[in-house]
């Protein structure tokens, strides 16, 4: 056997090993590069994000953490000048494959934004909106089943007790904190597997931030959660694993406790100590 073939075989077995090992991972990216026009936002991002835990993405502004998040549910593509290269595998399925339906990707991978964006309809209808998009409109669910769905979703985000008497009110009348919780709640009835959160607390005050973090811990274990945050303390409090990115590259990906105590790279240490960013 010549040298080339050996290397090829080694590669194959490595890939085979990897694919059997992916089962513990929810999101696997391989050499992900993303360009906005001529600007390269991500460089060879290779990450394995574990199932059912909370992973936080930290790094200074413009480091590519939001870009990474937006690539996972393919909303980046809406901008016509975006180019993506590399692979993203979610639960062992290539989301850029030929037979992938975008609606299904978005259904499985929910997203929460910086600014709460509830729809200008009632609280109840907001929770049921996703369901009504993804089900045949003719088949109406019985009323009590629908009520259960609404209650469960709102219970999970710890909003049920504050809004249960005003489910018919406009969602846009709620406080920002309640709106953000609602935006998380409305993802749940369509049973996503992954929740992506792009700085979900940056529009909230300290109390709201705490409340959202509390609900994140409640959701932990049922969903794979990836949270982008600017807030170092939040990453430390509210995540199991932490990824530090800088200038479009992944610098470090370790358990959160480890990163904040013994960062492996100088850049990471400098960042978490607040020397830049």
């Amino acid at each position: 056997m010549d040298r080339q073939a050996v290397i090829r075989d080694a590669k194959h077995s490595a890939e085979a090993q990897q694919s059997s090992a992916t089962s513990q991972y929810a999101i696997v990216t391989q050499d992900l590069n993303v360009w906005y026009g001529d600007f390269q936002a991500l460089y060879d991002v290779t990450l394995n994000i574990k199932k059912d835990i909370i992973t936080s993405l930290i790094g200074p502004s413009g480091c590519g953490k939001s870009t990474f998040l937006r690539s996972i549910n393919r909303i980046n593509e809406r901008l016509s000048y975006v180019r993506i290269d590399g692979s993203i595998t979610v639960y062992d399925h290539n989301i850029y494959g030929d037979h992938v339906e975008l609606a299904q990707v978005r259904k499985q991978i929910g997203m929460v934004f910086q600014r709460p964006n509830p729809l200008p309809i009632s609280i109840r209808d907001n929770v049921l909106f996703g369901l009504s998009i993804h089900s045949e409109s003719r088949k109406k669910l019985p009323r009590n089943e629908v009520d259960d769905i609404v209650e469960q979703a709102l219970q999970q985000v710890l909003l049920w007790h504050t809004v249960k008497d005003r489910l018919g009110r406009k969602a846009t009348e709620l406080s920002l904190e309640e709106q953000q919780k609602l935006c998380i709640a409305r993802l749940l009835p369509i049973k996503p597997t992954i929740l992506l959160m792009d700085e979900p607390c940056s529009a909230l005050d300290a109390k709201g931030t705490e409340a959202v973090e509390e609900l994140l811990w409640g959701l932990r274990g049922r969903y794979t959660i990836v949270i982008v945050t600017h807030n170092m303390a939040q990453a430390r409090r509210a995540s199991d694993e932490c990824i530090f990115m800088l200038m479009g590259k992944v610098i470090e990906h370790t358990p959160t406790a480890e990163m904040f105590v013994t960062p492996a790279h100088k850049e990471t240490a400098d960042y978490i100590e607040g020397r830049y960013g």
């Binding site: 964006n117 200008p120 998009i133 846009t172």
Partner: protein, 289 residues
């Protein structure tokens, strides 16, 4: 230390002067409206009666009522809306929600703006050529209404597009990110929030359409036709043309008759406009973001 300097008082005087000047100009603006309305009420008011509104013109249009013209105008406007609203709203939705921003859509937008600037008499001639002669509808309500529809399309499109674009982008994003298609987003979120603006645009357009004379003159409105139209292929009388005819073409019409017609026409327009304002207020109440 804080007393006015010479420059301050000069600036203040200048501002006071400008303010009064502009206020006078605003006053001048409403003067014509007031004069028109009071003249119409004063001179045309005595003509208004049940027989005037619901009777046929008699004695060479020098006596009697305006019922055929009233009904004719309603026909013309209704049929015109039947064409212009679906077409205009669909086009606006396409342009605002689906079309990519490129030279082609820019060209279409430019064409729409230019269409809005075409004089109504040119629309009239186009109507004669296209609908009366080429499509062989003859002079009929259909031909006249189609001409009116073409004329009103740009306004419907622009009003619709503006109210669509007034719906915050974040709502669309929220929908798309739950896997909604563009159409689901439009139907469930964008349109319900834009409908008040669209309706206002449409109703304002109705009031303008009701008063148009040139586009219907050669395409479907008749000089004198003392029966009601039975189908869209009939000719009809219309308020605006009737006013023109009895004011300029028929000798021996008593003074209060044209004023009465004008009063009814303006009342129709005002009623439509206040309806549109009321509707807008009603729909606004339910809208909050």
């Amino acid at each position: 230390m804080f007393a006015a300097s010479g420059l301050n008082s000069r600036n203040n005087r200048r501002q006071a002067l400008i303010r009064i000047l502009f206020m006078l100009m605003t006053g001048l603006l409403i003067l014509p409206v007031l004069i028109i309305l009071t003249t119409l009420l004063y001179k045309g008011g005595p003509a208004i009666s049940f027989e005037f509104l619901f009777g046929n013109p008699t004695n060479g249009m020098t006596e009697g009522g305006i019922f055929p013209a009233l009904v004719g105008t309603i026909w013309l406007v209704a049929v015109a809306l039947l064409f212009s609203v679906p077409l205009g709203v669909a086009a606006a939705i396409y342009l605002s929600e689906f079309a990519a921003e490129n030279w082609f859509t820019r060209a279409i937008n430019l064409a729409i703006i230019n269409l809005a600037g075409v004089p109504s008499i040119v629309h009239a001639l186009f109507g004669v050529g296209a609908f009366v002669l080429f499509m062989d509808f003859g002079t009929s309500i259909l031909a006249a209404s189609l001409t009116l529809a073409i004329m009103t399309l740009p306004v419907v499109i622009v009003a619709t597009r503006e109210s669509l674009q007034a719906v915050p982008y974040a709502f669309r994003e929220a929908c798309w990110n739950m896997g909604a298609t563009r159409w689901q987003t439009i139907r469930r979120v964008v349109l319900p929030n834009a409908v008040s603006g669209i309706l206002t645009g449409v109703i304002l357009e109705v009031s303008r359409t009701a008063g148009e004379t040139a586009p219907i003159m050669f395409t479907g409105a008749a000089f004198f036709l003392p029966f009601l139209p039975e189908s869209v292929f009939d000719q009809t009388m219309a308020m605006s043309l009737h006013l023109f005819v009895i004011s300029t073409q028929v000798p021996g019409v008593p003074d209060e008759l044209p004023f009465g017609v004008a009063l009814v026409l303006i009342a129709m327009v005002l009623i439509m406009n206040s309806f549109s304002i009321a509707l807008r207020i009603y729909l606004r109440v339910n809208k909050k973001w």
